[in-house]
């Protein structure tokens, strides 16, 4: 049995369930990473990773053998994340400030010193960034993450969201504008 994704998929469809385990081991971490970037929550990202591979297994018979498995499972992960975001939005009884995870509040602003003022500013920036992300619609958030953090092209984003490239581009644009509105006062202050 070959060890390529295609060979493993053939083995799974031939009744070898464990071959799917190799695929999960191979792509599990990257799916967790994209899920985390979208949700910014470790538990949610873990849940999405599990759900992604469960759905992937059940839909494997429909997988086009000529396609790339990584792209295919990535799209499932994005859809799972989108559904989770919608679910979280519906459950929005919890205020945004309480959802904020201070453990991951470190931001990557290039700065040599780390004095108390700087730490305060970093915290404020992260708080506003997080608030801006929460203000985005699910599509805007996904488009922004895929474009800005995952480095995906407009066409890939459009395919993942099942929209036209122009709609995907507009989603990115609106997301950046929301981020600008949220963070602009800080630049003026600083």
């Amino acid at each position: 049995m070959g060890n390529s994704d295609q060979a493993l998929i053939r083995a799974v469809l031939a009744g070898n369930k464990d071959a799917y385990g190799v695929l999960v081991e191979r792509h599990g971490e990257s799916m967790f990473r994209v899920a985390f970037r979208i949700t910014e929550n470790e538990a949610d990202a873990q849940e999405i990773a599990q759900e992604t591979f469960l759905r992937g297994y059940r839909s494997l018979a429909e997988f086009d053998a000529r396609a790339d498995f990584r792209t295919w499972i990535y799209r499932i992960a994005v859809n799972c994340a989108l559904q989770l975001l919608k679910k979280r939005k519906c459950e929005a009884a919890v205020p945004i400030s309480e959802e904020f995870d201070e453990e991951h509040a470190g931001i990557q602003l290039a700065d040599g010193g780390a004095g108390p003022e700087r730490l305060l500013l970093d915290r404020e920036i992260e708080h506003r960034r997080h608030a801006a992300m929460e203000k985005m619609t699910e599509d805007e958030r996904l488009a922004f993450v895929l474009r800005h953090l995952e480095g995906r092209s407009t066409e890939e984003i459009a395919a993942a969201l099942d929209v036209t490239p122009n709609t995907a581009k507009q989603s990115v644009f609106r997301a950046v504008q929301k981020m600008r509105r949220s963070l602009a006062p800080l630049w003026v202050k600083s």
Binding site: G21, R26, E29, R180
Partner: protein, 255 residues
């Protein structure tokens, strides 16, 4: 000077947009657009926290957490009842049916012209078939003629009518048989033609004396014997065919 839109600047930041050189040049000369672009760059420089690193063996643990409810794919069922296979099988069946139909039509189209152009053997069989029928009718006419000569009274008009019908056919058959180099049959048909001429061209009502004269002068007994012999001969040569296969012979048609 018109300024660049926010959309153009955001596209430029993500290395998209058709006129990258134009935007680049504009940013060098327009301080306002340069300021907006810097603001966008600053905003986008704020990165979300990186995903926490996963411990080694994360993928294996992920698999262990989900593998229990998954059932192996049933291979046989999928192999025989998957849609692509069904579509392929249907296409093959349709192709087979089309090939069969085409073959049947092609064969029929080949048979038709060959049937139209009858082979010499086939033509001969048709002649024998029709000739046998003609000899049969002639034999019945001669038998009736002999009976009429033996009984007093006038001849039935239907006998003369039959003789008039047989006469043109007999002439055609005689010519055909002459061409086919069959002297015995040709002589018999020639003899028959003279008898038919006599009966057909006689006055409307032949009496028994006239019939007796014809029998005597034309030796119809001998002719009847010859006809019977020839009919027996043509029956032997004739192929065994179903009556439904025989087409009615049209008067005046050439053989």
């Amino acid at each position: 000077m018109s300024h660049l839109t926010d959309e153009q600047l955001i596209e430029h930041y993500f290395c998209e947009g058709a006129n990258r050189v134009v935007v680049e040049t504009h940013l060098r000369i327009c301080s306002r657009c340069e300021q907006v672009y810097e603001e966008i760059s600053n905003v986008l420089a704020v990165r979300a926290p990186e995903p926490p690193a996963r411990e080694p063996g994360y993928g294996r643990r992920l698999w262990q957490s989900i593998h229990a409810p998954l059932r192996p794919y049933p291979t046989a069922k999928r192999r025989y009842f998957s849609w692509p296979r069904l579509v392929l099988a249907s296409a093959c069946l349709a192709g087979l049916a089309a090939a069969f139909l085409f073959g049947a039509l092609w064969q029929r189209s080949r048979i038709r012209p060959s049937a139209a152009a009858i082979s010499p053997q086939g033509k001969e069989r048709v002649v024998l078939l029709i000739l046998n029928d003609h000899l049969d009718r002639s034999e019945r006419l001669l038998v009736e003629l002999n009976h009429a000569g033996a009984e007093p009274g006038s001849l039935d008009a239907s006998l003369q009518s039959e003789a008039r019908q047989l006469l043109p056919d007999n002439r055609i058959y005689r010519q055909a048989v002459s061409a086919n180099h069959d002297p015995i049959m040709s002589a018999a048909l020639d003899h028959l033609e003279r008898v038919l001429l006599e009966v057909a061209n006689s006055p409307d009502k032949l009496n028994s004396a006239d019939i007796a004269r014809i029998e005597r002068e034309m030796n119809t007994d001998s002719l009847l014997f010859q006809i019977r012999v020839l009919r027996a001969r043509t029956s032997r040569q004739e192929p065994q065919v179903e009556p439904s296969q025989i087409k009615p012979f049209r008067k005046g048609s050439s053989i």
